[in-house]
Amino acid sequence: MKSWRTSSIRHSNAPLLAVLCALVLLAAGLSMCLGSALIAPGDILPALLGEPVSAAARIIRYARLPRTCACLLAGSALAVSGAVIQSVLGNPLAAPNIIGVSSGAGLAAALCGALAPAAAAAVPIAAFGGALLAVLLVLFIAERTGASKLTLVLAGAAVSGMFSAATDAVVTFVPDALNGYSDFRIGGVANLAMSRIIPAFWVILAAMLLVFSLAGELDVLLLGADTAQSLGLRAKPLRLILLALAAALAGAAVSFSGLLGFVGLIVPHIMRRLIGEDSRPLLCGCALGGAVTLTLCDLAARLLFAPYELPVGIVLSLAGGPFFIWLLLRQRGGRVHD
């Protein structure tokens, strides 16, 4: 167990990241081709570039492309968000859905849909606001109580529960606030239009670039507050900035994909084992691994019970839950983080 955990960090991470890149391309390609209608790989590029006249081209342009983009984008955003939250809080149990970030974003998205149904572009921004509020609440509670790992998760569960209940209340009064509400709760990427993804894309891109540029700071933060500060790092504001970026990532992803749970918890865990805790390669691994995981889960959701489709969130939890439990059982007696 121990050797599996640490042996890989001796070597360069480049081969692993290259494999992950290849997997992203493969998964994206499969996601474009497979589904209720099979499409030949050769038809993809013409359909994307030219006028969509044929039925296949229309499927690609209006169904498969947004769906694939949504998976890649939400998967990598949630995984990176989870990795950042875990590192900053020093808590392997933390993840966007566990500390209430996702449900905060969900509530904000619901409010946005209820109050300003026409403003689709505002949803990612609102979701970011909701996610940020949740992060700040949890951080505040944690700081007041001395930030024990258990308290943090409990505080997150409480915040998460409150926001979910509030979301339910909004949807009760304004049933159209989140169109396809059951999909939103489970998390799904079917029937999305590119116009819903693009605003979130810009938020995610900006937050991702900032997070990657702060990888060195994140590394030093892992050494503990005293050491970090003696190395010239202002730990408190940096924590806030990083958590805000994690909130932006998760919020933007939730704004179009709904409350997808496990990606943000499991992918960072796997990557930590494969790559170690060196932040730059770890974050790269999470971005790629998250994209692959969600795309493959969505493929499974489409194909397993064809012609019926499951929302991807169900597949993710059904596959991710047991995998996570297996991880926990393997490390029995070992320590995850310290």
Binding site: T6, R10, G216, V220, L223, T227, L231
Partner: protein
């Protein structure tokens, strides 16, 4: 050089260190001694601007601490904290973190940083374990890596909080030898120690704290002769002269 003037500091609204005036001089190894809870760590932390200072002044090279940005402070003084996390990275990556105050955003390591890391690894005698993951190292080896990280900062003052605690005798002596070489190279070395004989043999100067106050500060010889160590710790410290100099023991 760091100078403390009438320093008062504590945590949780309570003063632990009272009115301490003390200088960390280049070329000297200063051992900070005192019973548990007497404020040694708080003193070191306050000297770096960590934790809260409730009175007095801290000067770094004659400049008041609060007018120095954190990065400047980090270039003047390195700190080996008492609590040391073990991230899942290689020892060399760990030591590279010591270069942080010398990098500007977005923190790309330069050739000179690698050279500084190599020097620090040599200083701490940790070259051979540089490629090992932190998680696979023994306590003594980890300590070497932490020491190397502190040295990679290449600051003229090096503060170490209990650098020898939990180490076996061999590793303790190695840490003291590193401290000696650093001082000989012109750096000011301050270390919190618990082992009185180790401190008396290895340090040039000794500052003895009791209940947050500085009892005495002088050369090891002066402090031994004053008998204050015996009084503060409630022990009977004795010494015999050997070929290798004075050897101290508890009588």
């Amino acid at each position: 050089m760091i100078e403390l003037e009438h320093l008062c500091a504590g945590y949780g609204g309570r003063d632990v260190v009272h009115d301490v005036t003390l200088s960390f001089c280049p070329g000297r190894v200063l051992a900070l001694l005192g019973p548990n809870g007497c404020g040694k760590s708080t003193l070191l932390r306050a000297a770096l601007g960590l934790g809260s200072r409730s009175g007095g002044r801290v000067l770094m090279d004659g400049i008041p601490l609060e007018s120095l940005p954190l990065r400047e402070r980090a270039r003047k003084a390195a700190y080996l904290a008492q609590s040391r996390t073990v991230p899942n990275i290689t020892a060399r990556r760990m030591v590279l973190h010591g270069r942080f105050p010398h990098l500007s955003y977005p923190r790309h390591y330069r050739k000179e940083d690698d050279e500084a890391v190599d020097r620090a690894l040599d200083w701490a005698d940790a070259r051979d374990i540089a490629s090992c993951p932190m998680g696979e190292l023994s306590g003594g080896q980890r300590q070497k890596v932490y020491l190397a990280m502190t040295l990679a900062q290449e600051a003229p003052t090096v503060l170490m909080d209990e650098p020898t605690t939990f180490l076996d005798v061999g590793h303790q002596l190695e840490v003291m030898a590193v401290a000696r070489r650093l001082a000989d190279a012109g750096r000011a070395v301050v270390m919190v120690l618990h082992d009185l004989p180790l401190a008396l043999r290895g340090a040039d100067d000794i500052a003895l704290l009791s209940e947050g106050r500085l009892v005495i500060c002088g050369t090891a010889e002066e402090v031994y002769a004053s008998g204050e160590l015996d009084r503060v710790f409630g022990v009977a410290l004795r010494r015999v002269e050997t070929d290798a100099g004075w050897q101290y023991y508890y009588g």
